[in-house]
Protein backbone atom coordinates (compact mmCIF):
# COMPACT_ATOMS: atom_id res chain seq x y z
CA UNK A 1 0.00 0.00 0.00
CA UNK A 2 1.26 3.46 -0.87
CA UNK A 3 1.70 6.16 1.77
CA UNK A 4 -1.54 7.73 2.93
CA UNK A 5 -2.58 11.15 1.61
CA UNK A 6 -2.71 12.71 5.05
CA UNK A 7 -0.73 11.46 7.96
CA UNK A 8 -0.82 12.83 11.49
CA UNK A 9 1.92 11.65 13.78
CA UNK A 10 1.60 12.38 17.50
CA UNK A 11 0.20 15.82 16.82
CA UNK A 12 -0.16 17.91 19.95
CA UNK A 13 -1.24 21.47 20.46
CA UNK A 14 -1.38 23.38 23.71
CA UNK A 15 -3.02 26.71 24.36
CA UNK A 16 -1.41 27.85 27.58
CA UNK A 17 -2.21 25.12 30.08
CA UNK A 18 -4.86 23.47 27.93
CA UNK A 19 -3.88 20.60 25.71
CA UNK A 20 -6.53 20.76 23.02
CA UNK A 21 -5.20 17.91 20.94
CA UNK A 22 -2.83 15.38 22.42
CA UNK A 23 -0.63 12.97 20.48
CA UNK A 24 -3.15 12.46 17.72
CA UNK A 25 -2.01 9.86 15.26
CA UNK A 26 -4.21 8.97 12.34
CA UNK A 27 -4.24 8.90 8.57
CA UNK A 28 -6.50 9.40 5.61
CA UNK A 29 -5.76 7.37 2.50
CA UNK A 30 -6.40 8.52 -1.02
CA UNK A 31 -10.10 8.40 -1.79
CA UNK A 32 -10.90 7.32 1.74
CA UNK A 33 -13.84 8.64 3.74
CA UNK A 34 -12.85 9.07 7.36
CA UNK A 35 -14.98 10.31 10.22
CA UNK A 36 -13.74 12.18 13.25
CA UNK A 37 -16.17 12.09 16.15
CA UNK A 38 -16.20 12.88 19.81
CA UNK A 39 -18.11 14.78 22.46
CA UNK A 40 -18.25 18.58 22.43
CA UNK A 41 -14.88 20.15 23.08
CA UNK A 42 -12.99 16.99 22.23
CA UNK A 43 -10.70 18.84 19.83
CA UNK A 44 -12.21 17.93 16.49
CA UNK A 45 -12.31 21.40 15.02
CA UNK A 46 -8.88 22.10 16.48
CA UNK A 47 -7.63 19.05 14.61
CA UNK A 48 -9.08 20.58 11.43
CA UNK A 49 -7.37 23.86 12.14
CA UNK A 50 -4.09 22.01 12.58
CA UNK A 51 -4.48 20.13 9.32
CA UNK A 52 -5.38 23.27 7.37
CA UNK A 53 -2.52 25.30 8.80
CA UNK A 54 -4.57 27.72 10.86
CA UNK A 55 -2.70 26.49 13.95
CA UNK A 56 0.80 25.12 14.19
CA UNK A 57 1.17 21.97 16.24
CA UNK A 58 3.19 22.33 19.45
CA UNK A 59 4.75 18.97 18.65
CA UNK A 60 4.26 16.11 16.26
CA UNK A 61 4.10 16.24 12.49
CA UNK A 62 1.50 16.42 9.78
CA UNK A 63 2.30 15.14 6.32
CA UNK A 64 0.21 15.81 3.27
CA UNK A 65 1.04 13.89 0.11
CA UNK A 66 4.38 12.97 1.66
CA UNK A 67 5.39 16.52 2.60
CA UNK A 68 5.36 18.18 5.98
CA UNK A 69 2.83 20.97 6.28
CA UNK A 70 4.54 22.64 9.21
CA UNK A 71 4.51 26.41 8.99
CA UNK A 72 2.76 26.50 5.63
CA UNK A 73 -0.01 29.07 5.36
CA UNK A 74 -3.60 27.90 4.82
CA UNK A 75 -3.76 29.56 1.40
CA UNK A 76 -0.68 27.61 0.31
CA UNK A 77 -2.13 24.36 1.65
CA UNK A 78 -5.28 25.08 -0.32
CA UNK A 79 -3.18 25.25 -3.46
CA UNK A 80 -1.64 21.83 -2.82
CA UNK A 81 -5.07 20.31 -2.30
CA UNK A 82 -6.54 20.76 1.17
CA UNK A 83 -9.98 22.38 1.23
CA UNK A 84 -12.44 22.75 4.04
CA UNK A 85 -15.83 23.93 5.18
CA UNK A 86 -16.60 25.51 8.53
CA UNK A 87 -18.76 24.57 11.46
CA UNK A 88 -20.39 28.00 11.45
CA UNK A 89 -20.83 28.80 7.79
CA UNK A 90 -18.30 31.27 6.45
CA UNK A 91 -19.42 32.43 3.04
CA UNK A 92 -18.37 35.71 1.46
CA UNK A 93 -21.40 37.80 2.33
CA UNK A 94 -20.84 40.69 -0.04
CA UNK A 95 -20.35 38.40 -3.02
CA UNK A 96 -22.93 36.66 -5.16
CA UNK A 97 -23.26 32.88 -5.20
CA UNK A 98 -21.36 32.71 -8.48
CA UNK A 99 -18.60 35.01 -7.22
CA UNK A 100 -18.15 32.89 -4.11
CA UNK A 101 -17.15 30.07 -6.45
CA UNK A 102 -15.17 32.27 -8.83
CA UNK A 103 -13.07 33.65 -6.03
CA UNK A 104 -12.05 30.12 -5.09
CA UNK A 105 -11.41 29.29 -8.75
CA UNK A 106 -8.84 32.03 -9.03
CA UNK A 107 -6.41 29.78 -7.18
CA UNK A 108 -5.71 27.78 -10.32
CA UNK A 109 -6.67 30.42 -12.86
CA UNK A 110 -3.20 31.91 -13.27
CA UNK A 111 -4.80 35.29 -13.45
CA UNK A 112 -3.43 38.32 -11.74
CA UNK A 113 -3.30 41.99 -11.11
CA UNK A 114 -1.85 43.13 -14.41
CA UNK A 115 -4.12 41.08 -16.62
CA UNK A 116 -7.11 42.42 -14.68
CA UNK A 117 -5.83 45.94 -15.31
CA UNK A 118 -5.11 45.43 -18.97
CA UNK A 119 -8.28 43.43 -19.73
CA UNK A 120 -6.85 41.94 -22.90
CA UNK A 121 -8.19 39.10 -24.98
CA UNK A 122 -6.66 36.35 -22.89
CA UNK A 123 -8.09 37.86 -19.76
CA UNK A 124 -11.61 37.83 -21.16
CA UNK A 125 -11.31 34.28 -22.36
CA UNK A 126 -9.99 33.27 -18.99
CA UNK A 127 -12.80 35.07 -17.20
CA UNK A 128 -15.48 33.41 -19.30
CA UNK A 129 -13.88 29.99 -18.81
CA UNK A 130 -13.86 30.54 -15.07
CA UNK A 131 -17.46 31.66 -15.14
CA UNK A 132 -18.49 28.65 -17.20
CA UNK A 133 -16.68 26.20 -14.93
CA UNK A 134 -18.10 27.85 -11.83
CA UNK A 135 -21.60 27.61 -13.24
CA UNK A 136 -21.08 23.96 -14.10
CA UNK A 137 -20.05 23.27 -10.53
CA UNK A 138 -23.11 25.11 -9.25
CA UNK A 139 -25.32 23.12 -11.62
CA UNK A 140 -24.11 19.83 -10.20
CA UNK A 141 -25.37 20.98 -6.82
CA UNK A 142 -28.56 22.58 -8.12
CA UNK A 143 -27.40 26.00 -7.06
CA UNK A 144 -27.07 27.58 -10.50
CA UNK A 145 -30.48 29.18 -10.23
CA UNK A 146 -29.18 31.33 -7.37
CA UNK A 147 -26.11 32.52 -9.27
CA UNK A 148 -26.75 36.24 -8.82
CA UNK A 149 -28.22 36.09 -5.33
CA UNK A 150 -26.13 37.25 -2.41
CA UNK A 151 -24.57 34.16 -0.86
CA UNK A 152 -25.81 34.82 2.65
CA UNK A 153 -29.41 35.30 1.46
CA UNK A 154 -29.70 31.60 0.56
CA UNK A 155 -31.60 29.16 2.74
CA UNK A 156 -29.45 27.53 5.39
CA UNK A 157 -29.10 24.15 3.73
CA UNK A 158 -28.11 25.74 0.44
CA UNK A 159 -25.50 27.86 2.19
CA UNK A 160 -23.98 24.68 3.60
CA UNK A 161 -23.88 23.14 0.15
CA UNK A 162 -22.50 26.32 -1.38
CA UNK A 163 -19.65 26.18 1.09
CA UNK A 164 -18.89 22.65 -0.06
CA UNK A 165 -18.98 23.79 -3.69
CA UNK A 166 -16.59 26.62 -2.88
CA UNK A 167 -14.23 24.13 -1.29
CA UNK A 168 -14.45 21.90 -4.36
CA UNK A 169 -13.69 24.85 -6.64
CA UNK A 170 -10.12 24.85 -5.32
CA UNK A 171 -9.73 21.33 -6.79
CA UNK A 172 -8.79 19.61 -3.55
CA UNK A 173 -7.39 16.12 -3.01
CA UNK A 174 -8.63 16.17 0.54
CA UNK A 175 -11.89 17.75 1.65
CA UNK A 176 -12.47 18.51 5.31
CA UNK A 177 -16.11 18.87 6.28
CA UNK A 178 -16.82 20.38 9.68
CA UNK A 179 -20.25 19.27 10.87
CA UNK A 180 -21.98 19.49 7.50
CA UNK A 181 -25.20 18.01 8.91
CA UNK A 182 -25.56 20.54 11.70
CA UNK A 183 -29.03 22.02 11.75
CA UNK A 184 -30.39 19.74 9.04
CA UNK A 185 -33.58 17.73 9.26
CA UNK A 186 -33.56 13.93 8.71
CA UNK A 187 -34.38 14.08 5.00
CA UNK A 188 -31.75 16.77 4.42
CA UNK A 189 -29.30 14.54 6.25
CA UNK A 190 -30.11 11.68 3.90
CA UNK A 191 -29.51 13.97 0.95
CA UNK A 192 -26.24 15.07 2.48
CA UNK A 193 -25.04 11.49 2.82
CA UNK A 194 -25.74 10.89 -0.84
CA UNK A 195 -24.04 14.15 -1.68
CA UNK A 196 -20.85 13.36 0.22
CA UNK A 197 -20.62 9.91 -1.33
CA UNK A 198 -21.18 11.26 -4.81
CA UNK A 199 -18.66 14.07 -4.31
CA UNK A 200 -16.07 11.53 -3.25
CA UNK A 201 -16.65 9.42 -6.36
CA UNK A 202 -17.12 12.22 -8.84
CA UNK A 203 -14.20 14.42 -7.78
CA UNK A 204 -12.05 11.50 -6.74
CA UNK A 205 -11.00 12.88 -3.40
CA UNK A 206 -10.55 11.86 0.20
CA UNK A 207 -12.93 13.21 2.81
CA UNK A 208 -12.36 13.83 6.50
CA UNK A 209 -15.62 14.45 8.25
CA UNK A 210 -16.34 15.91 11.66
CA UNK A 211 -19.90 15.17 12.59
CA UNK A 212 -22.14 14.72 15.60
CA UNK A 213 -24.87 12.92 13.80
CA UNK A 214 -24.10 9.23 14.28
CA UNK A 215 -26.42 8.12 11.53
CA UNK A 216 -24.49 10.16 9.01
CA UNK A 217 -21.08 9.14 10.29
CA UNK A 218 -21.87 5.45 10.63
CA UNK A 219 -23.66 5.49 7.30
CA UNK A 220 -20.90 6.75 5.07
CA UNK A 221 -17.50 6.55 6.75
CA UNK A 222 -15.08 3.75 6.00
CA UNK A 223 -13.02 4.53 9.06
CA UNK A 224 -13.81 6.47 12.22
CA UNK A 225 -11.51 8.03 14.78
CA UNK A 226 -12.92 9.00 18.16
CA UNK A 227 -11.54 11.89 20.19
CA UNK A 228 -12.15 12.64 23.83
CA UNK A 229 -10.40 15.48 25.67
CA UNK A 230 -8.01 15.82 22.76
CA UNK A 231 -6.94 12.17 22.83
CA UNK A 232 -7.82 9.52 20.34
CA UNK A 233 -9.57 6.80 22.28
CA UNK A 234 -10.53 4.53 19.42
CA UNK A 235 -10.22 4.05 15.70
CA UNK A 236 -11.76 1.52 13.38
CA UNK A 237 -14.64 0.64 11.14
CA UNK A 238 -18.12 1.93 12.06
CA UNK A 239 -18.97 -1.53 13.42
CA UNK A 240 -15.92 -1.68 15.65
CA UNK A 241 -16.53 1.83 16.93
CA UNK A 242 -20.15 1.15 17.78
CA UNK A 243 -19.28 -1.55 20.26
CA UNK A 244 -16.02 -0.09 21.52
CA UNK A 245 -16.37 0.15 25.32
CA UNK A 246 -14.32 3.35 25.59
CA UNK A 247 -16.49 5.07 23.02
CA UNK A 248 -19.66 4.09 24.79
CA UNK A 249 -18.15 5.34 28.00
CA UNK A 250 -17.23 8.67 26.44
CA UNK A 251 -20.69 9.20 25.08
CA UNK A 252 -22.89 7.65 27.73
CA UNK A 253 -20.72 7.65 30.81
CA UNK A 254 -19.15 4.67 32.58
CA UNK A 255 -21.45 1.87 33.65
CA UNK A 256 -21.55 0.86 37.31
CA UNK A 257 -21.38 -2.73 36.23
CA UNK A 258 -19.99 -4.03 32.98
CA UNK A 259 -22.70 -4.39 30.39
CA UNK A 260 -22.91 -6.14 27.07
CA UNK A 261 -21.98 -3.89 24.16
CA UNK A 262 -25.13 -2.81 22.38
CA UNK A 263 -25.89 -4.31 19.03
CA UNK A 264 -26.75 -1.56 16.68
Amino acid sequence: MSAPLLELDKVTIRFGGLTAVSELTTSVGEGELVGLIGPNGAGKTTAFNLITGVYRPTSGSIQFAGKSTFGIKPSKLASVGIARTFQNIRLFGSLSVLDNIRVAKQLHSGEGYLSALWRGKGFKQNESTIEKESLELLKIFNLAKFRDEMATSLPYGDQRRLEIVRALATKPKLLLLDEPAAGMNPSEKDDLMHLIRSIKERFNLAVLLVEHDMKVVMGICQKIAVLEYGRKIAEGTPKEIQCHPKVIEAYLGAAATPIEPAHA
Binding site: G93, S94, R102, V103, A104, E127, I130, T170
Partner: protein, 310 residues
Protein backbone atom coordinates in the same frame (compact mmCIF):
# COMPACT_ATOMS: atom_id res chain seq x y z
CA UNK B 1 -8.43 46.80 -31.53
CA UNK B 2 -11.99 46.92 -30.27
CA UNK B 3 -12.12 48.44 -26.84
CA UNK B 4 -13.98 46.87 -23.99
CA UNK B 5 -16.56 48.82 -22.01
CA UNK B 6 -14.22 49.78 -19.24
CA UNK B 7 -11.46 50.98 -21.55
CA UNK B 8 -13.90 52.98 -23.63
CA UNK B 9 -15.04 54.82 -20.52
CA UNK B 10 -11.44 55.50 -19.62
CA UNK B 11 -10.78 57.10 -23.03
CA UNK B 12 -14.00 59.13 -22.79
CA UNK B 13 -13.04 60.32 -19.31
CA UNK B 14 -9.56 61.40 -20.35
CA UNK B 15 -10.89 63.09 -23.50
CA UNK B 16 -13.41 65.08 -21.49
CA UNK B 17 -10.75 66.07 -19.00
CA UNK B 18 -8.44 67.30 -21.77
CA UNK B 19 -11.31 69.20 -23.40
CA UNK B 20 -12.18 70.87 -20.11
CA UNK B 21 -8.52 71.68 -19.69
CA UNK B 22 -8.38 73.43 -23.10
CA UNK B 23 -11.31 75.57 -22.09
CA UNK B 24 -9.91 76.34 -18.66
CA UNK B 25 -8.37 79.62 -19.86
CA UNK B 26 -11.87 81.08 -19.91
CA UNK B 27 -12.70 79.90 -16.42
CA UNK B 28 -12.68 81.91 -13.24
CA UNK B 29 -9.48 81.12 -11.35
CA UNK B 30 -11.39 80.45 -8.16
CA UNK B 31 -13.64 77.86 -9.80
CA UNK B 32 -10.72 76.38 -11.63
CA UNK B 33 -8.91 75.89 -8.35
CA UNK B 34 -11.90 74.18 -6.79
CA UNK B 35 -12.35 71.97 -9.84
CA UNK B 36 -8.77 70.80 -9.45
CA UNK B 37 -9.38 70.16 -5.76
CA UNK B 38 -12.35 68.02 -6.71
CA UNK B 39 -10.31 65.96 -9.17
CA UNK B 40 -7.59 65.38 -6.59
CA UNK B 41 -10.19 64.43 -3.96
CA UNK B 42 -11.66 61.86 -6.36
CA UNK B 43 -8.23 60.25 -6.80
CA UNK B 44 -7.64 60.19 -3.05
CA UNK B 45 -11.06 58.84 -2.13
CA UNK B 46 -11.19 56.21 -4.89
CA UNK B 47 -7.76 54.88 -4.02
CA UNK B 48 -8.50 54.79 -0.30
CA UNK B 49 -11.73 53.00 -1.14
CA UNK B 50 -9.66 50.08 -2.45
CA UNK B 51 -7.97 49.77 0.95
CA UNK B 52 -10.73 50.73 3.39
CA UNK B 53 -13.79 49.84 1.36
CA UNK B 54 -13.10 46.86 -0.88
CA UNK B 55 -10.38 45.19 1.17
CA UNK B 56 -11.73 46.30 4.54
CA UNK B 57 -8.39 47.40 6.01
CA UNK B 58 -8.91 50.54 7.99
CA UNK B 59 -6.09 52.89 7.06
CA UNK B 60 -5.72 56.38 8.45
CA UNK B 61 -2.46 57.09 6.65
CA UNK B 62 -3.62 58.29 3.26
CA UNK B 63 -2.51 61.89 3.81
CA UNK B 64 0.93 60.49 4.64
CA UNK B 65 1.20 58.80 1.24
CA UNK B 66 -0.13 61.94 -0.39
CA UNK B 67 2.62 63.91 1.35
CA UNK B 68 5.32 61.46 0.27
CA UNK B 69 4.24 61.66 -3.36
CA UNK B 70 3.66 65.39 -3.23
CA UNK B 71 6.97 66.30 -1.71
CA UNK B 72 8.92 63.93 -3.90
CA UNK B 73 7.29 65.11 -7.13
CA UNK B 74 7.67 68.78 -6.15
CA UNK B 75 11.29 68.28 -5.15
CA UNK B 76 12.00 66.61 -8.53
CA UNK B 77 10.35 69.47 -10.40
CA UNK B 78 12.34 72.02 -8.46
CA UNK B 79 15.74 70.32 -8.46
CA UNK B 80 15.84 68.38 -11.69
CA UNK B 81 13.51 70.71 -13.57
CA UNK B 82 15.78 73.67 -12.85
CA UNK B 83 18.54 72.27 -15.05
CA UNK B 84 16.28 72.07 -18.13
CA UNK B 85 14.46 74.63 -20.20
CA UNK B 86 10.96 75.51 -18.89
CA UNK B 87 9.31 73.58 -21.75
CA UNK B 88 11.30 70.43 -21.09
CA UNK B 89 10.69 70.76 -17.37
CA UNK B 90 6.96 71.02 -17.97
CA UNK B 91 7.05 68.01 -20.27
CA UNK B 92 8.67 66.08 -17.45
CA UNK B 93 5.71 66.73 -15.16
CA UNK B 94 4.12 63.32 -15.78
CA UNK B 95 7.44 61.71 -14.93
CA UNK B 96 7.66 63.47 -11.59
CA UNK B 97 4.04 62.53 -10.88
CA UNK B 98 4.87 58.92 -11.68
CA UNK B 99 8.01 59.07 -9.56
CA UNK B 100 6.03 60.56 -6.67
CA UNK B 101 3.47 57.78 -6.98
CA UNK B 102 6.11 55.07 -7.15
CA UNK B 103 7.96 56.47 -4.16
CA UNK B 104 4.71 56.56 -2.18
CA UNK B 105 4.03 52.98 -3.27
CA UNK B 106 7.47 51.94 -2.05
CA UNK B 107 6.81 53.57 1.31
CA UNK B 108 3.40 51.87 1.26
CA UNK B 109 5.13 48.53 0.85
CA UNK B 110 7.53 49.23 3.70
CA UNK B 111 4.73 50.32 6.00
CA UNK B 112 2.23 47.74 4.79
CA UNK B 113 4.22 44.53 5.15
CA UNK B 114 4.67 44.75 8.91
CA UNK B 115 1.51 46.65 9.82
CA UNK B 116 -1.03 44.69 7.77
CA UNK B 117 -0.64 41.81 10.19
CA UNK B 118 -2.75 43.94 12.47
CA UNK B 119 -6.47 44.25 12.20
CA UNK B 120 -9.12 46.91 12.63
CA UNK B 121 -8.37 49.48 15.30
CA UNK B 122 -4.73 48.43 15.61
CA UNK B 123 -4.06 48.93 11.94
CA UNK B 124 -5.81 52.30 12.09
CA UNK B 125 -3.52 53.42 14.90
CA UNK B 126 -0.36 52.21 13.16
CA UNK B 127 -1.25 53.99 9.92
CA UNK B 128 -2.17 57.10 11.87
CA UNK B 129 1.25 57.01 13.49
CA UNK B 130 2.90 56.53 10.10
CA UNK B 131 1.12 59.61 8.75
CA UNK B 132 2.39 61.67 11.66
CA UNK B 133 5.94 60.40 11.14
CA UNK B 134 5.84 61.56 7.52
CA UNK B 135 4.58 64.96 8.61
CA UNK B 136 7.28 65.34 11.24
CA UNK B 137 9.99 64.22 8.83
CA UNK B 138 8.82 66.80 6.30
CA UNK B 139 8.72 69.41 9.01
CA UNK B 140 12.38 68.81 9.84
CA UNK B 141 13.89 68.25 6.42
CA UNK B 142 15.59 71.38 5.15
CA UNK B 143 15.70 70.09 1.57
CA UNK B 144 11.90 70.34 1.37
CA UNK B 145 11.58 73.62 3.23
CA UNK B 146 11.11 72.18 6.72
CA UNK B 147 8.43 73.90 8.82
CA UNK B 148 8.11 76.91 6.56
CA UNK B 149 7.07 74.71 3.69
CA UNK B 150 8.19 74.10 0.12
CA UNK B 151 7.65 77.22 -1.98
CA UNK B 152 7.78 78.12 -5.64
CA UNK B 153 6.64 74.81 -7.08
CA UNK B 154 5.85 75.39 -10.76
CA UNK B 155 2.18 75.29 -11.62
CA UNK B 156 1.84 72.38 -13.99
CA UNK B 157 -1.40 70.89 -12.80
CA UNK B 158 -4.29 71.42 -15.18
CA UNK B 159 -7.84 70.13 -15.29
CA UNK B 160 -6.67 67.67 -17.94
CA UNK B 161 -4.16 66.14 -15.57
CA UNK B 162 -6.36 65.99 -12.50
CA UNK B 163 -9.47 64.64 -14.17
CA UNK B 164 -7.52 62.52 -16.63
CA UNK B 165 -5.72 60.87 -13.74
CA UNK B 166 -8.93 60.66 -11.74
CA UNK B 167 -10.36 58.69 -14.68
CA UNK B 168 -7.27 56.46 -14.70
CA UNK B 169 -7.62 55.87 -10.95
CA UNK B 170 -11.28 54.96 -11.20
CA UNK B 171 -10.52 52.70 -14.16
CA UNK B 172 -7.71 50.92 -12.34
CA UNK B 173 -9.57 50.38 -9.09
CA UNK B 174 -12.78 49.17 -10.74
CA UNK B 175 -10.89 46.98 -13.23
CA UNK B 176 -8.90 45.30 -10.53
CA UNK B 177 -11.92 44.68 -8.34
CA UNK B 178 -14.16 43.54 -11.19
CA UNK B 179 -12.18 40.45 -12.03
CA UNK B 180 -11.88 36.96 -10.67
CA UNK B 181 -8.56 37.99 -9.17
CA UNK B 182 -10.07 41.14 -7.69
CA UNK B 183 -12.90 39.30 -6.02
CA UNK B 184 -10.18 38.24 -3.63
CA UNK B 185 -10.09 41.75 -2.14
CA UNK B 186 -13.77 41.49 -1.29
CA UNK B 187 -13.27 37.98 0.06
CA UNK B 188 -10.55 39.29 2.38
CA UNK B 189 -12.96 42.00 3.46
CA UNK B 190 -15.73 39.50 4.17
CA UNK B 191 -13.90 36.71 5.95
CA UNK B 192 -10.15 36.33 6.19
CA UNK B 193 -10.20 32.77 7.50
CA UNK B 194 -12.50 31.56 4.75
CA UNK B 195 -10.44 33.49 2.20
CA UNK B 196 -7.23 31.81 3.34
CA UNK B 197 -8.79 28.38 3.16
CA UNK B 198 -10.02 29.14 -0.35
CA UNK B 199 -6.44 29.70 -1.45
CA UNK B 200 -6.40 33.48 -1.19
CA UNK B 201 -3.24 34.82 0.39
CA UNK B 202 -4.78 37.48 2.60
CA UNK B 203 -1.45 39.15 3.40
CA UNK B 204 -0.62 39.47 -0.26
CA UNK B 205 -3.98 40.94 -1.16
CA UNK B 206 -3.82 43.43 1.67
CA UNK B 207 -0.33 44.56 0.70
CA UNK B 208 -1.34 44.85 -2.96
CA UNK B 209 -4.34 46.99 -2.02
CA UNK B 210 -2.20 49.10 0.28
CA UNK B 211 0.55 49.66 -2.27
CA UNK B 212 -1.91 50.44 -5.07
CA UNK B 213 -3.75 52.89 -2.85
CA UNK B 214 -0.47 54.50 -1.78
CA UNK B 215 0.60 54.88 -5.41
CA UNK B 216 -2.49 56.85 -6.38
CA UNK B 217 -2.35 58.89 -3.19
CA UNK B 218 1.22 59.79 -4.14
CA UNK B 219 0.11 60.82 -7.63
CA UNK B 220 -2.65 62.93 -6.07
CA UNK B 221 -0.03 64.51 -3.83
CA UNK B 222 2.05 65.44 -6.88
CA UNK B 223 -0.98 67.02 -8.56
CA UNK B 224 -1.76 68.88 -5.36
CA UNK B 225 1.80 70.21 -5.07
CA UNK B 226 1.83 71.52 -8.65
CA UNK B 227 -1.64 72.96 -8.16
CA UNK B 228 -1.17 74.88 -4.91
CA UNK B 229 2.50 75.65 -5.73
CA UNK B 230 3.21 75.41 -2.04
CA UNK B 231 3.49 72.46 0.34
CA UNK B 232 3.27 72.79 4.07
CA UNK B 233 3.67 69.84 6.47
CA UNK B 234 0.58 70.95 8.37
CA UNK B 235 -1.49 70.37 5.24
CA UNK B 236 -0.89 66.62 5.59
CA UNK B 237 -1.84 66.06 9.20
CA UNK B 238 -4.22 63.37 10.35
CA UNK B 239 -7.24 65.61 9.80
CA UNK B 240 -6.53 65.37 6.08
CA UNK B 241 -6.55 61.57 6.37
CA UNK B 242 -9.81 61.67 8.28
CA UNK B 243 -11.32 63.86 5.55
CA UNK B 244 -10.56 61.20 2.96
CA UNK B 245 -11.87 58.44 5.22
CA UNK B 246 -15.10 60.42 5.67
CA UNK B 247 -15.48 60.56 1.88
CA UNK B 248 -15.17 56.78 1.70
CA UNK B 249 -17.57 56.13 4.55
CA UNK B 250 -20.10 58.67 3.40
CA UNK B 251 -19.98 57.38 -0.17
CA UNK B 252 -20.41 53.82 1.02
CA UNK B 253 -17.47 51.50 1.66
CA UNK B 254 -16.60 49.73 -1.54
CA UNK B 255 -19.03 51.67 -3.72
CA UNK B 256 -17.10 53.54 -6.35
CA UNK B 257 -19.88 55.80 -7.63
CA UNK B 258 -20.92 56.82 -4.14
CA UNK B 259 -17.34 57.51 -3.08
CA UNK B 260 -16.73 59.72 -6.13
CA UNK B 261 -19.93 61.63 -5.39
CA UNK B 262 -18.96 62.03 -1.75
CA UNK B 263 -15.50 63.28 -2.77
CA UNK B 264 -17.13 65.94 -4.96
CA UNK B 265 -19.70 66.89 -2.34
CA UNK B 266 -17.29 67.15 0.55
CA UNK B 267 -14.87 69.25 -1.47
CA UNK B 268 -17.58 71.65 -2.62
CA UNK B 269 -19.49 71.85 0.65
CA UNK B 270 -17.01 74.04 2.56
CA UNK B 271 -16.99 76.43 -0.40
CA UNK B 272 -20.77 76.71 -0.46
CA UNK B 273 -20.73 77.34 3.26
CA UNK B 274 -18.31 80.25 3.08
CA UNK B 275 -21.07 82.78 3.73
CA UNK B 276 -21.55 81.32 7.20
CA UNK B 277 -17.98 82.35 7.99
CA UNK B 278 -17.03 81.15 11.46
CA UNK B 279 -19.95 78.71 11.71
CA UNK B 280 -18.83 77.05 8.50
CA UNK B 281 -17.11 74.03 9.96
CA UNK B 282 -19.89 73.48 12.49
CA UNK B 283 -22.46 73.34 9.72
CA UNK B 284 -20.15 71.12 7.70
CA UNK B 285 -19.82 68.71 10.60
CA UNK B 286 -23.55 68.76 11.30
CA UNK B 287 -24.33 67.98 7.67
CA UNK B 288 -22.01 65.01 7.76
CA UNK B 289 -23.67 63.76 10.94
CA UNK B 290 -27.12 64.07 9.42
CA UNK B 291 -26.12 62.46 6.15
CA UNK B 292 -24.59 59.59 8.08
CA UNK B 293 -27.74 59.14 10.15
CA UNK B 294 -29.97 59.26 7.09
CA UNK B 295 -27.85 57.09 4.80
CA UNK B 296 -25.67 54.88 6.96
CA UNK B 297 -25.01 52.45 4.13
CA UNK B 298 -23.55 55.14 1.90
CA UNK B 299 -24.86 58.42 0.67
CA UNK B 300 -25.43 57.60 -2.96
CA UNK B 301 -26.28 53.98 -2.83
CA UNK B 302 -26.96 53.32 -6.44
CA UNK B 303 -27.70 49.66 -6.45
CA UNK B 304 -24.33 48.35 -7.54
CA UNK B 305 -25.08 44.71 -7.86
CA UNK B 306 -21.81 43.00 -8.42
CA UNK B 307 -21.98 41.72 -11.94
CA UNK B 308 -19.70 39.26 -13.57
CA UNK B 309 -16.90 41.16 -15.26
CA UNK B 310 -17.70 42.89 -18.51
Amino acid sequence: MPLSGAKRWLIVGIALAVLASLGSGYMNRYYLGIANDVGIAIILATSLNLINGHTGQFSLGHAGFMAVGGYFAAWLSLKIGASFSPQTAKAMFPLSLLAGGLFAALIGLLVGVPSLRLKGDYLAIVTLGFGEIIRVVAQNTEAVGAASGLKGIPQYTTLGWTFGLAAVTVYCVTSIVNSTYGRGFLAVHDDEIAAESSGISTTRYKVVAFVTGAFFAGVAGGLYAHHKQFLSPTGFDWIKSIEIVVMVILGGMGRTVGVIAAAILLTLLPEFLREFSEYRMIIYALMIIFLMLLRPGGLFVFKTKRRPTA
